[in-house]
């Protein structure tokens, strides 16, 4: 018997992820300013002297997280972007896991290895996912003529479908292992059909793995959104202005803000970049912590201590 230690990553991760979900729901309603509120260039009298106030403004009582170069309140932008960041990520991860589990189960249960599927998995594992997603959405996303909702739906569809092979691959391998066990053999000899075996015998054995994959996929989707942001493709549309060439996120989704403010790394006003970075890292960190917690939890339940 081993004594169970408190699994802190699991607890903290659960709390943080719940907080993020709540933030996604109430975010736009508790934002301190309107979305189009802009702090204009103006002068103020401080100690009898006239001072010109020029955005980007540093974090202060009026603007808790400061403003960006165009005078928009960063906290407001982040709160308005939160639903997109969180629910788009969750939607993609859920769809991936749902489709991937189904495909993996049905392909894993086949008597012969499915050559065509193996070659799909193989080819897909070489290509980083953000490249096909980027090229697919590039034509419609920059200065879009489609509504934001359509673009978000397009991204969800593309990222989910293109991510299926990697999820299906691990489910398939697990299914192939379980297919060989005695209890499946017993079920077959008792006359169980394919669905019976898959959903009564195989799925209960991999359900924990499916949960872990779901959370890890969430992190992967966030990374994908961040990478697309690096190359100026933002979820829900990129607004591109010419002269100077600038890219803005239309939904103010966190990865998009991070991407569009990345030029401020080198500036004298680093908070414009650091605050979206902190928000994005907070979201990724919460999900990674949850994933680690879940993984530790299942490992403690099933694994033996190594001898060496």
């Amino acid at each position: 018997m081993q004594i169970r230690r408190t699994n802190w990553p699991l607890r903290i991760g659960t709390v943080l992820v719940s907080f993020l979900v709540v933030l996604g729901i109430v975010g736009p309603h508790i934002a301190p300013y309107e979305l189009d509120f802009q702090e204009k260039l103006h002068s103020e009298t401080v100690n009898g002297k006239t001072v010109i106030v020029m955005p980007p403004l540093a974090p202060s009582a009026e603007h808790w997280l400061g403003t960006d170069k165009w005078g928009y309140d960063l906290l407001t932008l982040l709160l308005h972007g939160a639903p997109y960041t969180i629910f788009v990520t969750l939607a993609v991860a859920l769809l991936r896991v749902l489709l991937g589990t189904l495909v993996g189960l049905y392909i894993g249960i086949q008597d012969k290895p499915q050559r065509w599927w193996l070659s799909v998995e193989n080819a897909w594992s070489y290509l980083p996912l953000f490249i096909p997603v980027y090229f697919l959405l590039r034509g419609v996303s920059i200065n879009p003529e489609l509504p934001t909702s359509t673009l978000v739906a397009l991204f969800i569809g593309a990222a989910a479908v293109l991510g299926v092979p990697s999820v299906a691959s691990s489910i398939r391998q697990k299914t192939e292992q379980i297919k060989e066990t005695q209890f499946v053999l017993a079920a077959v000899s008792m006359g169980a059909g394919r669905e019976q075996i898959l959903f009564r015998h195989v799925l209960p054995h991999i359900k924990e793995q499916v949960i872990v994959i779901l959370v890890t996929e969430t992190v992967a989707v966030m990374t994908l959104m961040g990478l697309l942001g690096m190359f100026d493709l933002f979820i829900g549309g990129t607004k591109m202005t010419y002269d100077p060439v600038l890219f803005h996120s239309m939904t103010h989704e966190w990865a998009g803000l991070l991407g569009s403010y990345r030029g401020f790394v080198y500036s004298n006003t680093p908070w414009v970049f650091a605050i979206p970075l902190a928000a994005f890292m907070f979201a990724v960190g919460s999900f990674s912590l949850l994933a680690k917690g879940l993984r530790d939890h299942f490992r403690e339940t099933y694994q033996r201590t190594p001898y060496i």
Partner: protein, 287 residues
């Protein structure tokens, strides 16, 4: 024959990916889906290849020949890719397997676990920030952002590129190590009084290797994904320049040639790493 078929499949995949912006676009509030555009461009590309040239691409206002540039670009990309994956494999075998049982290594892994929660592209940006700060404090330059400089400090992009795959591979290897360490045959070997190095090499390594090889493809894919960010943010002149040019335009010919070369290079890297693992085994495992 099957290799040729796979290569043709790869080529078609690359063409489909690079052609996507011409396949799906909007014009006057209408979404156009027109796969025929891709076929026209592919035929044109194949004609140019048949002519012996690979076409041209634009850098700013200069038209340059792809065939002329692809060699040096591929070389620098290959260097980055190959050495990063090599570092990842060597480090994760060394610390994830052979030195795993020492306490200090556990601390190192815990630190890496924390770093691993940060997405790779953020790490790359933070590394640039850190390098600039380091220069401000000490005056020692470890980073060159100018693309016109000589590649005298290739090691900085290389180290940064190696972080992501190392973390991924190390995680996989040490997870397998913990699993295999709990097997009965390890206990038997220990009970028989075999030396720890003998067990590590002959029992643990041999059982970890299939998973290492299976993870190798994913490792290379991660390295390639990070390669795009490293070359883009650090201004390294390499193959990704054909695909994401900083000054705007997207060119089909260049993108296809760039992506196809990257795919071929990653296959080459995979084969080379397998060869190095084979040599390692000949020298240390099956002497």
């Amino acid at each position: 024959m099957s290799y040729v078929r796979q290569l043709i499949g790869m080529f078609l995949l690359v063409v489909a990916v690079c052609g996507a912006p011409f396949m799906l676009y909007t014009d006057k509030d209408e979404v156009h889906v027109s796969p025929e555009n891709v076929i026209v461009r592919t035929v044109y590309l194949l004609e140019q290849i048949a002519d012996g040239s690979l076409g041209t691409y634009w850098v700013g206002n200069t038209e340059r020949s792809i065939a002329q540039d692809i060699g040096p670009f591929a070389l620098s990309t290959f260097e980055l890719l190959f050495f990063s994956v090599l570092i990842a494999v060597a480090v994760s075998l060394l610390f994830g397997l052979f030195l795993q049982r020492f306490g200090a290594v556990h601390q190192l892994q815990r630190a890496l676990d924390v770093i691993a929660t940060v997405p790779d592209f953020v790490l790359i940006m933070l590394a640039i920030l850190a390098a600039i700060q380091f220069y401000k404090w000490t005056g020692i330059r470890i980073i060159t952002l100018s693309p016109f400089s000589d590649a005298d400090n290739n090691w900085f992009p290389l180290t940064i590129l190696a972080i992501g795959p190392t973390i991924f591979l190390m995680k996989g290897v040490s997870l397998k190590y913990a699993q295999i360490g709990g097997e009965d045959y390890i206990r038997t070997a220990l009970a028989k009084g075999m030396g720890i190095w003998h067990i590590l090499v002959h029992h643990v390594y041999k059982n970890v290797k299939p998973f290492l090889v299976a993870d190798l493809k994913k490792t290379i894919a991660i390295t390639v994904a990070n390669l795009f960010v490293v070359e883009y943010l650090l201004n390294v002149v390499g193959l990704t320049r054909f695909i994401f040019s900083k000054d705007g335009g997207f060119e089909f010919n260049a993108a296809v040639m760039g992506l196809m070369s990257i795919v071929l290079l990653s296959i080459l890297v995979y084969v080379l790493i397998r060869a190095i693992l084979y040599l390692f085994e000949r020298a240390f495992v099956y002497k």
